[in-house]
């Protein structure tokens, strides 16, 4: 499709929908309603929204949906760290119920017992999976969960009179940027550990780093390299000994379900992304859900409320002494709670463990094949990868000048997602693949085939790659000035018209 920007579809006088109108009796009782407004608050100029018939609006968005490569449409293993697993259709049908959609967050507890029960049960399941003692589902994503945990670290030390003194949080470079960023928002100084030659965070460096200024330590394990830090318990002990809180970014938990738990590794808190590990769909980027689990001593710091069972009733418990307040309105993304609940119920304990094992099997199969592709390097220790691997095209780049971004564009021609990696590129020319449990060997072979093909092209006909994409929705964007130059960029259509269309006239 070469679908115009929606404003170009404007046809004066058309309508997409007619909103509810007031009954005659009301109009005759209260008048037009708006003349009560003070003049300066009454809108004087109608918004310049386009006028389009319903059929055309629908066609526009349906076409654009087809130009979006959702996980349901491809062998979606190229967005490493994102755990793009299968989101079961049945769960989508379940959350479409008006029994969920139409709930208001302030309605009486007795009228939402179903939702509260599901939330409480999910809490119990996650406790079992992590070893933690309580969960909150308030955060709307991993980033917000990390922010909530950083807030709890601060509240904890403040409650102990060490709020001022403990002003450092330690993280690692192969963790999600939000670990560092959210702690910085909470006023912390960030100390970043780099890996040793095997790709493990440096334990000696940690020992040198911790002090009475250490507020907390946050880490993913496995990190985004897919490498599991075997000495994690020593890390948490070092931090605990220094008086810090250890919190665990479990965004990479998909290979660990039923295998190992946060508690035994010595963490005080952890979070799971329901939209990654527990299959709720990513929805173009949210709403997601970051479920925070804590050990008993941190319960009073959780954002309000959590769910409590009182006899046969489920109630909202707001009795949390040191509560950090809130990070998100109300009680979290209720529809994701139901989805995750349903997913766990559909797998059971054996199924969950099979998920982890299959994810690890798939990843290691992929790893064994990808590393054989010409131009690919896999930094750090051989083997020992769990559910994902960070690879590098550095040899290819050295040989041919083709970058990981070039390859990303070319992969669009094969209808595959392909993600480089978070910045900074500690691994040069990086790419990160995470196959999850949802793909068959044949699926993986298809993806491997595409990368092999492109590697071959890089060595034989690199121009094909440089000018890619060739059969995607759009052609190559050849300038970055519309993204980097304030004179050119336009973040809305009206800004575009001002800068590029009307300016020319």
């Amino acid at each position: 499709w070469n679908e115009p920007v929606i404003f170009e579809l404007h046809q004066k006088g058309e309508r997409g929908v007619v909103p509810p109108k007031t009954e005659e009796e009301i109009a005759s009782t209260v008048g037009d309603g708006i003349s009560k407004l003070p003049g300066h608050l009454k809108r004087s100029r109608a918004p310049e929204l386009p006028e389009i018939s319903q059929n055309r609006v629908l066609r526009h968005y349906l076409r654009l949906s087809q130009e979006t490569l959702g996980a349901a449409f491809n062998v979606e293993i190229g967005q490493g760290t994102c755990t793009m697993k299968y989101s079961p259709v049945v769960n989508e049908k379940l959350v479409a119920s008006e029994k969920l959609r139409s709930l208001h967050p302030k309605q009486a507890e007795e009228t939402v017992q179903g939702t509260l029960k599901a939330t409480y049960e999910l809490d119990l399941y996650l406790r079992e999976i992590s070893g933690m003692d309580y969960f909150s589902f308030q955060p709307g994503s991993g980033t917000q969960a990390l922010f909530a945990m950083a807030s709890m670290v601060r509240a904890y030390h403040e409650a102990n009179g060490e709020g001022e003194q403990r002003d450092e949080i330690i993280t690692t470079i192969f963790s999600h940027p939000s670990q560092a960023a959210t702690a910085a928002v909470k006023g912390y100084k960030i100390i970043t550990l780099y890996p040793d030659e095997n790709g493990f965070p440096d334990l000696e460096r940690l020992k040198d780093t911790v002090s009475e200024r250490t507020a907390g330590f946050v880490v993913a394990n496995p990190e985004d390299t897919g490498i599991y830090n075997s000495r994690i318990k020593e890390f948490t002990k070092v931090v605990h000994d220094a008086g810090g809180i250890c919190y665990y970014d479990q965004a990479n938990a998909n290979g660990l379900l039923g295998i190992t738990r946060a508690k035994e590794a010595g963490f005080d808190m952890c979070f799971f992304n329901l939209h990654k590990t527990f299959s709720t769909p990513h929805a173009c980027g949210g709403p997601g859900s970051g479920a925070i689990g804590v050990v008993e001593k941190l319960k009073p710091y959780l954002p309000k409320p959590i769910i409590k069972k009182q006899g046969e009733k489920y109630v909202l418990n707001t009795d949390l002494e040191h509560c950090i307040g809130k990070v998100r309105s109300y009680y979290g993304v209720a529809q994701n709670i139901i989805r995750a609940y349903a997913w766990i119920r559909s797998l059971g304990p054996d199924g969950l463990k099979a998920v982890a094992e299959t994810a690890v099997l798939n990843n290691n199969y992929l790893y064994s094949k990808i590393k054989e592709i010409k131009g690919v390097d896999v930094p750090y220790a051989e083997g020992g990868r769990l559910e994902q691997v960070r690879y590098s095209w550095e040899p290819l780049y050295q040989d041919t000048g083709i970058t990981t971004e070039d390859i990303s564009r070319r992969m669009a021609d094969f209808a595959h997602q392909y993600w480089t990696s978070h910045h900074p590129y500690v691994v040069p020319q990086p790419f990160t693949l995470e196959p999850t449990e949802s793909y068959s060997k044949e699926d993986l072979d298809e993806y491997i085939g595409s990368l092999s093909h492109i590697s071959n092209e890089a060595y034989t006909s690199p121009e094909v790659i440089r000018t890619a994409p060739h059969c995607s929705s759009i052609h190559k964007i050849t300038t970055d000035k519309y993204f980097e130059d304030p004179e050119h960029w336009a973040i809305t259509w009206r800004a575009y018209l001002k800068k590029h269309v009307n300016a020319k006239v």
């Binding site: 997409g16 949906s65 709930l103 309605q107 006023g187 599991y228 209720a334 564009r409 336009a490």
Partner: protein, 461 residues
Amino acid sequence: MTKAITHPYLPNTNPEIKAQMLKEIGVESIEELYQTIPEELRYTGKLNIPEALNEFELKREVGNLLQKNKGTNEVISFLGGGCWQHFIPAVCDEIASRAEFVTAYAGDEYEDHGRFQVLFEYQSLLAELLCVDVVNVPTFDWGQAAATAIRMASRLTTKKEALVPKTVAPERLKIIENYCSPDVEIKLINYQEATGELDLTDLKNNISEQTAAIYFENPSYLGFLETQGEEISRIAKESGAITIVGVDPISLGVLESPVQYGADIICGELQPLGNPMNYGGGQSGFIATRDEMEYISEFPSRLFGITPTSQEGEYGFGDVFYDRTSFAKRENGKESVGTQTSMCAITAGVYLALMGPEGMAELGQTIMQRSQYAMKKLNEIEKISPSYFNNVNFKEFVVDFNETGKTVEEINQYLLSKGIYGGIDLSEEFPELGQSALFCVTEVHSKADIDTLAKELRSYL
């Protein structure tokens, strides 16, 4: 390795395939792949969660659970206060349930062209409603949008205090305070008892060189309009502070954009624009500013821009000024960004495209007429007053039950027994209002619904 399991969600279940894959990897068992996890950290038990259900059982199980909920569609509900019951066009649901959008995430400009375009269009459509040139890819909700707007103002002014009226939504205030601490201090400003509007004297008393921003809401949490916007902006400007206005965008078909009374940053909630309430799971916030480099530099959010491609006449879309973000710069980026609430924004875009200027104007009018009618009907009941404040309202209003001798809790319990969800009980959030409740009336409330409320209240009180 657990016993072989054949499950629809797990393709590689054939032992032969598994064996073949293990062989290619060069290991004997999956167990070997876990060798980096030390024995002492291995969980050896069986998770104490219920055994697997098949799809039919699952549907029955979850169906039974949801049966215990009573949705607002089954009753007459007057709950609002930040999450509102509005008419949702079917096209919004259709687009929001397209498998492509539901399962996409973070692809690039090419394979996810559609996702980029619909989000750029959302930015552009909302911008028309707000009369601004820059709107972000959404935040988590209005509360977080307000907090970020305040932090942006703090960075822009290098000052560390923000002034907020006491009438701000308590739910949002908690978020603002948590997101702003420890960097920015939030000071609450009194309101005028008669109108609910900001007490300008108290404002002047509190504004200072430390003030980064004044934040207020219009319509306010308590439903009344803040009519002094221009004056407030003037006061802010005099002190070098930034004016931030929080807004319910559904009001902007009939209400003037805050830009017209001096707002530098506008923020608000997208839920009313076509997103189901979902027990609060439909919240999504926005931030909007002028197209000025200094403002744009302070956004933590992604901002999608439009660009030509190598094909004449074709548009592409991508990230503007990515280097601001924590994705690019970790702790040195502006605050933090991650998965937010894109689907709500896409839906809001579809909503605005369907409604058009006429639709938004008619809708705003309907809401005002219906809520005014409700106030009038309740006013006819002795001992209660549906207008605690002497002011013009949009969609919500505070009903004063103080003279009834009954608590809001009792009243709501009675209404519940009649299939009515009464207004939000304000007695804890705003003790100074005594036994008062915040009622919400939108375009979905028919005359009959409102008359039923009045009838039941009359018969109970």
